[in-house]
Symmetry: C2
Amino acid sequence: MSVVIVGSVAYDGVETPHGKADRILGGACTYISLAASFFTGVKIVGVVGDDFAREDEEFLAGRGIDLEGLERVPGKTFYWQGVYSADMNDRTTLRTDLNVFADFHPKLPESYKSAPYLVLGNIQPALQRNVRAQMNGVRLVGGDTMNYWIESYRDELLATIREWDFLLINDSEARMLSGAHNLKRAAAKILEMGPSTVVIKRGEYGAVLFRLDHHFIVPGYLLEEIFDPTGAGDSFAGGFIGYLAEKGYDLEKGHINSKELCRAVIYGSVMGSFCCERFGVDRFRTLTRAEIDARFAEFRDFTEF
Amino acid sequence: MSVVIVGSVAYDGVETPHGKADRILGGACTYISLAASFFTGVKIVGVVGDDFAREDEEFLAGRGIDLEGLERVPGKTFYWQGVYSADMNDRTTLRTDLNVFADFHPKLPESYKSAPYLVLGNIQPALQRNVRAQMNGVRLVGGDTMNYWIESYRDELLATIREWDFLLINDSEARMLSGAHNLKRAAAKILEMGPSTVVIKRGEYGAVLFRLDHHFIVPGYLLEEIFDPTGAGDSFAGGFIGYLAEKGYDLEKGHINSKELCRAVIYGSVMGSFCCERFGVDRFRTLTRAEIDARFAEFRDFTEF
């Protein structure tokens, strides 16, 4: 069943210890959509400038992604530039040119409004909320946020996530949002804010899914070489929602078996791990569903006892 | 089957965000032994001063630990004092008084020499090697080390671990020992140094077991309150060797089923997690095997998918 994905479509300049690439396709919406496209139909909502390359558009369309909601306006596409530390645990943003993204007011095409799944990438919380309101009878909605919105738009953010089924957030953001340092306590506080499901991402250490009645911990996949971690968290989101949508699950208690939900977390982890193997979105150009399922089996192999 | 455990028996002064305790029972040998004692017979080799309290001796003996190899000499017991950071990810050593431990030359009682299992806590590598040489027909030997020996006694350390079946080491030490930042590459290099099994401990994030043909990752147990992480790594070692000894396993290829070895890692993680729940060794005063097995089942519950 199809998923509507809203967020940034960007060009990135990335430098890691393995090399450097400039003006490569990036953005949260791009990574989430590409990862989800291996599981289910995807419809994206975003904005790009007149510099957005035809080959990038063709790549997305070639993955079966519906681009009706991708606005093209005069000006330049959102540009982000960053450099990673030697161990790749930190990154420094060198430049953020919002460009046409500064005036992004997501508007859903009619054909999107009855989609059952909605993922809201990290944008201003009021915009996320407004998109949610444009949907008719969405079954499952969730998304991401970041430190800036947590600090400076807290009330709007709380009103927004109150209507969400799931929140994907990294560990430092979970601590900031909840005010609790301990991960279990942080998750318990966030579960009181609305979402029935919280997934806390821990970078190379994996992720933890929390619900009121259980939690599930997945360690990170051990890569021998991390080329570029950009987009790994968004690719996680894409794998997670992609699997749920492929199976037609929602997150209502009783509807989804808790082990199936854990499997969605594993597929998220699988997609995040593939993302890091090449610069930018490059790994998704050659990836196959068979490789995805083989890595899923590897997760079982190295965690089962 | 019984395990000989060699290392420091100490008094610790510990300050964590949850409080402060001084001159409490500690030391690597103590933690490893207490944790292992829930699984198998334990014989310890260490040295204490004439200030070593009768009640501490009675506690160890009460856990069935053989103290014949615990030398009592004039002087003071090894004293360590440290303080943890607010998030408990760092600790600062305030004081290290080696005292009687400065002249520790472990000598095995006759009754220890034919024990099938040997764990060498973090002491000077040449001493570790000397203990190994005193054993007759040991089936399984391994232990721990630390940054100081890796940096300043590298050749001795390499000669020592060449004779070991397993090495337990934390992630930063594994990087230092191998010269590789990437965990998989670091482990591959260490496996070339002798041990057939390397367990890399990652603090709150759990541990990874590496063998030539497979690896196993266990995430850390999520505690709501970490009272005192002192000794968690040593308690891990105790649970790990304790389970192997209880079952009578060695680490020869073909002798142990890889899933059983994973279970030893889980029991290690279980014992490390319990250790953090109270100051010093206190949790081991009340812990029961039923609680241990219940937590083992919890690990299965939050990792299975």
